[in-house]
C-alpha cells in the first residue's frame, strides 16, 4: 500500500472509491496529530481538530487540482483549522501569533528532577512543547514532515525568510537553554 502515491489514492476516491480515503488518513494522521498536539497543547482538542481537518479535506477533495502536493494542501487545512480552534478558545492568542517577535523565554521543567537530569532528546522534546503555536508548527513541518522552508511557507502562508527566522529563533532559544543547563558538556 505504501507504493500507492497520494495522487493515485485521490483519483480513486474521486472515482467513487470512498473507502480508499482511509489510506490517506493512515498516512497522515500521526504527523498531523503531532503538529496539532504541539499547537493546541491539548490531546482532546488535537483529536477533534484532526477529525475536522480530514473531513474538510474529504469535502474539498473534488476541488483539489493537484497544483500543489496533497501534503501541503492538507497541512494548510490542518493549520488553519487549528488556528480557528485556538482563536475560538482564546481570542488573545490571535495577537500572540500575528507577530514573529514574540517568542517567550523558554523555561526548563527540570525543577522537579533536580537530582536526575533528563536525556538531552527528552529535554528538547519536552521544552519545545512550550513553543507558541506558530513556532511549534514550523518545527513540526520542517523536522517531522521533512518539508522545505518553501513548503512550510506555503502551508502557513508566511514568507520564506519568516520561516527561517522562526526556525533559527526556536533553535537559538533551545541552544541557550541547553548551555544554561549544562547539557552541552554531556554532548562534548
Amino acid at each position: 500500500m505504501k507504493d500507492i502515491s497520494d495522487s493515485e489514492i485521490i483519483e480513486s476516491v474521486k472515482n467513487g472509491n470512498h473507502s480508499d480515503y482511509s489510506l490517506l488518513i493512515d498516512r497522515y494522521k500521526n504527523r498531523a496529530f503531532s503538529m496539532l498536539k504541539k499547537m493546541l497543547r491539548n490531546e482532546m482538542d488535537a483529536e477533534e481538530v484532526l477529525q475536522d481537518s480530514f473531513l474538510k479535506a474529504y469535502s474539498g477533495l473534488k476541488n483539489f487540482r493537484e497544483e500543489a502536493k496533497f501534503s501541503t494542501w492538507f497541512y494548510r487545512i490542518v493549520y488553519n483549522t487549528a488556528l480557528t480552534r485556538i482563536s475560538a478558545k482564546r481570542r488573545q492568542t490571535e495577537n500572540e501569533m500575528s507577530s514573529i517577535d514574540d517568542l517567550p523565554e523558554l523555561k526548563s521543567n527540570d525543577d522537579y528532577e533536580s537530582s536526575e537530569k533528563k536525556d538531552v532528546s527528552k529535554f528538547i522534546s519536552d521544552t519545545i512543547e512550550q513553543l507558541p503555536p506558530k513556532y511549534a508548527s514550523v518545527i513540526n513541518l520542517y523536522y517531522i514532515d521533512g518539508m522545505s522552508c518553501e513548503e512550510v511557507s506555503d502551508v502557513m502562508n508566511i514568507s520564506v525568510p519568516n520561516v527561517k527566522v522562526i526556525l533559527h529563533r526556536s533553535r537559538n532559544a533551545l541552544k541557550d537553554l541547553l548551555i544554561e543547563r549544562d547539557y552541552v558538556k554531556e554532548i562534548l
Binding site: 470512498h18 493512515d26 496529530f33 473531513l55 469535502s59 528538547i124 533553535r171 552541552v184 554532548i187
Partner: protein, 170 residues
Amino acid sequence: MNTISDEMLNNYLDGELSKDESAEVEKIVNGSPALKLQLMALKEIDRSLRNMPVPEVSFDVTSVIMQKIKWIEKLKKDQKRFIVVIASVFITLCLAIVLFVGFELIRNYNPDSSKTIIDTVKYAETLSGFITSFMNNTNMTILGGIFSFGLLISAYFFFDYSKVFKNLGK
C-alpha cells in the same frame, strides 16, 4: 570576522553558506571554545528534532472518520433524492397546469374555421380570455395556496438537511 552571529551559525548548520563562508566559519569556530559549544548545541538540537518520536493518535481515528464519511455520502444521496422528488412534483404541477390550459383551449377551439390571420387573433383572444377567467377564479387562490405550502415544506426540509450535513463534521 572574529565572531559569528547566531544567524550565521544556523545558516552554516542548514548548509546555506557558500564554500568560502563555511570554511571561514569553521576556522573561527575552531579557534573559539565558546562558539564551538554553541555549534555543538545547535547540532544536537537539530539531530534531536530530526529524530523526535511521532506521537500516535490514541484511538482508531481512521474508522471514526470513515464512519462519518459514510454518513456524509448517505446524506448526499438522500439530499439528491429529495431534490429530485421536489423537482418532479414541481414539474408535474407545471405540466398539469399547461395540460389543463391546453385542454381548455382545444375545447373552445372551432375546428371549422380556416387558418387565417383573423382566426389566429381570435385564438389569442380566446387564450387571454381563458387565462383572465382562470386567474379570477377562486380555484386559482386555492391552487396558489397549495403550491406555496408545498414550497414552504420543501424549503424547511431542504434547510434541515443542509444543517445536518454541515454539522456532521463537528
